[in-house]
């Protein structure tokens, strides 16, 4: 009987808390962008044990590109369209990565900047931390990639679903093959080296990362947020903000990564001028109309509460829908579930308590 009474009490407390949170949410001024606070951040993913061997392999890979010169041919399947491309890759540490079509199609080679690790806003531990956040990494076997022995690391979610399979070259430590899966278990992009050799043996011109404007630090980012910019610290599905910088048109460029893929979100303050956009069509994304320019990568544009967002990423439509739902376009009703609807109210509660504590402390 006492247990039952305790249970009832706990339920009553919980109910009261939920009601208060709901009231706080209902009475909160609507329309204004919710400030991003610790309370509105997605909850930290459950930590899942990884095996040390797998972690060591991934740690080695995270720095291998900065010490290894290589070249090879890779086959790549785009997440968005399933399009297949074959690319010739040459990498020289400190200079960058040169890419061109493997079939000899004449195009200007693309040069990527030197690998410098994730941006300054990334969590401690960089790529490895991002990759192992909410995923368990396990060494599951050996395989051959491009005729060379490789370790196979499986990244799985707490549910047991496979998030990715990663092949690491045993000789160099480099990531040489990857298969990434979305939450529905669909393959969301894959790539593998078909030939691989060290060293690069070619001249790689200095990469273009210098063209980017300097990254913005945490304080400047906080200041932007107080001025009404959203600059979300995280996107759905564990994508964390790793870099922020100024971009064309007074935009703030925000780069997010989950250790497996990265997306760029550009925020501009103002009203979307649809007539000025060419090559875009209207797409229904989870019930919301957004503008999309097909291509590699695809570009998605929408208006939300005084900001214009542009998402640039090679990710499937489900992933885009989740990002759009987190920053709902004007005129659509965000439907992100009861818990997420409640969380702004909980955030208000937390802020109210925090303010009260601050007042009583001063």
């Amino acid at each position: 009987v006492r247990t039952r009474a305790a249970l009832a009490g706990a339920l009553a407390l919980l109910g009261g808390g939920v009601l208060a949170a709901g009231l706080a949410h209902a009475t909160a001024p609507s329309g204004a962008p919710q400030p991003w606070t610790a309370a509105t951040l997605p909850s930290a993913p459950r930590t899942v044990p990884s095996d040390e061997e797998a972690l060591a392999i991934v740690r080695r890979a995270a720095t291998a590109a900065s010490t290894t010169s290589y070249q090879g041919t890779a086959s790549v399947v785009a997440a968005d369209s399933g399009a297949v491309s074959r690319v010739w890759i040459a990498h020289v540490p400190g200079r960058g990565t040169l890419l061109r079509p493997a079939d000899g199609t004449p195009t200007t080679p693309t040069t990527l900047g030197p690998d410098a690790g994730p941006g300054g806003l990334a969590p401690d531990g960089g790529d490895v931390a991002l990759l192992s956040q909410g995923r368990s990494l396990r060494l599951v076997g050996r395989d051959d990639v491009a005729g060379r022995p490789a370790d196979v690391v499986l990244a799985s979610l707490p549910s047991g679903a496979v998030a990715a399979r990663l092949w690491f070259d045993r000789g160099t430590g480099l990531l040489v093959r990857r298969e990434v899966y979305d939450l529905a278990g669909q393959r969301a992009g894959s790539a593998t080296f078909l030939t691989f050799a060290t060293p690069a043996g070619v001249d790689v011109p200095q990469g273009g990362a210098a063209a980017l404007r300097p990254a913005v630090g945490p304080e400047a980012l906080e200041r932007l947020r107080t001025e009404g910019w959203r600059c979300p610290p995280a996107l759905p599905a564990g994508m964390l903000l790793v870099q922020a910088r100024e971009a064309a048109g007074g935009a703030v460029a925000l780069e997010y990564s989950d250790g497996l893929s990265s997306v760029s979100l550009f925020e501009q303050r103002g009203e979307l001028d649809q007539e000025a956009l060419t090559g875009f069509d209207r797409r229904d994304v989870g019930g919301a109309l957004v503008l999309r320019r097909a291509g590699t990568p695809a570009v998605w544009v929408w208006q939300s509460q005084g900001s214009v967002f542009t998402l640039v990423a090679d990710v499937g439509a489900p992933a885009v829908a989740r990002v759009v739902a987190a920053l709902p376009p004007d005129g659509t009703q965000a439907d992100d579930g009861l818990v997420e609807r409640m969380s702004p109210g909980l955030g208000d509660l937390a802020r109210g308590v925090g303010d009260a504590l601050a007042r009583s402390g001063s």
Partner: protein, 262 residues
């Protein structure tokens, strides 16, 4: 000596009077403190309503207005001479009968202009409060994202990370791609599973690829995906027959056949 402006003060402030009439009215304003005060009130009201800062009133105008002695309210006294015009300019002769300049007072004889001014200030205060709130910007810039520049930025920024670098996502670096493949079911197929697992493949008539990974101890995962490509080293290449189950990956730790979901 000219006729007082009355309701025409509003029209003058709005620039609605004809040139000749406006000139006469302005000349009268120069000579008549009451109409000058009315006009100033009208102009301030418009400036406030526009949500802009009020025009700077020249100090000498303020001084001349506030320097007028306050008298008790009384009926206009005929025969009083108006004060000399500002700046010594002679007023244009207007046809109406002269009246005494009304004493400057906080309690006006005709409350209209002051009521209007108070209302204007109230409205403008409301407007400025609205403007200060984030969702009602007075002027919203029009934004057209520069997609080409953003894509270039994305590529450059994403290349900074070794594990997510687009070097292994060439679709993002503009290398031409062939469209996703449906293709004949007999297309050569490559190893696609981790070495510790068994890959079973079912290619159904709808060209959907079902795979299931099993290990000796557990099922690692299963999925059904449209066939988009067969890729990778073709060491295990072989025909895939629609509706059949094929084991195509190397097997470690003992083989177990896998039932692929249909």
């Amino acid at each position: 000596v000219s006729r007082c402006l009355g309701a025409r003060a509003a029209a003058l402030a709005d620039g609605m009077l004809g040139p000749a009439e406006a000139e006469r009215a302005l000349a009268h304003v120069a000579a008549c403190p009451r109409c000058r005060a009315d006009l100033l009130a009208q102009r301030e009201m418009r400036a406030l309503l526009r949500g802009l800062s009020a025009p700077q009133v020249p100090g000498d105008v303020v001084a001349s207005v506030s320097g007028i002695p306050v008298r008790p309210l009384a009926a206009p006294t005929p025969g009083l001479v108006p004060p000399p015009p500002l700046g010594g300019a002679a007023p244009l002769p207007l046809e109406s009968s002269p009246h005494a300049p009304r004493p400057f007072s906080l309690v006006p004889r005709r409350p209209g202009p002051v009521v209007a001014s108070v209302a204007a200030v109230t409205v403008s205060a409301g407007l400025s409060l609205l403007a200060a709130s984030p969702q009602a910007a007075v002027s919203v810039p029009r934004v057209a994202p520069d997609a080409a520049s953003f894509v270039a930025d994305h590529r450059a920024a994403a290349s900074a990370s070794a594990l997510t670098s687009p070097a292994l996502r060439s679709a993002e670096i503009g290398v031409p791609a062939t469209p996703g493949v449906g293709g004949p079911a007999s297309r050569s197929f490559a190893s696609a599973a981790s070495a510790a697992s068994v890959l079973a493949v079912v290619l159904d008539p709808g060209s959907r690829l079902a795979t299931s990974w099993t290990s000796p101890s557990r099922t690692l995962g299963a999925r059904v995906a449209p066939v988009t490509s067969f890729q990778g080293p073709s060491a295990h290449a072989g025909p895939v027959v629609a509706g059949s189950v094929s084991l195509v990956s190397p097997v470690m730790g003992g083989a177990e056949s896998a039932a692929a979901p249909r």
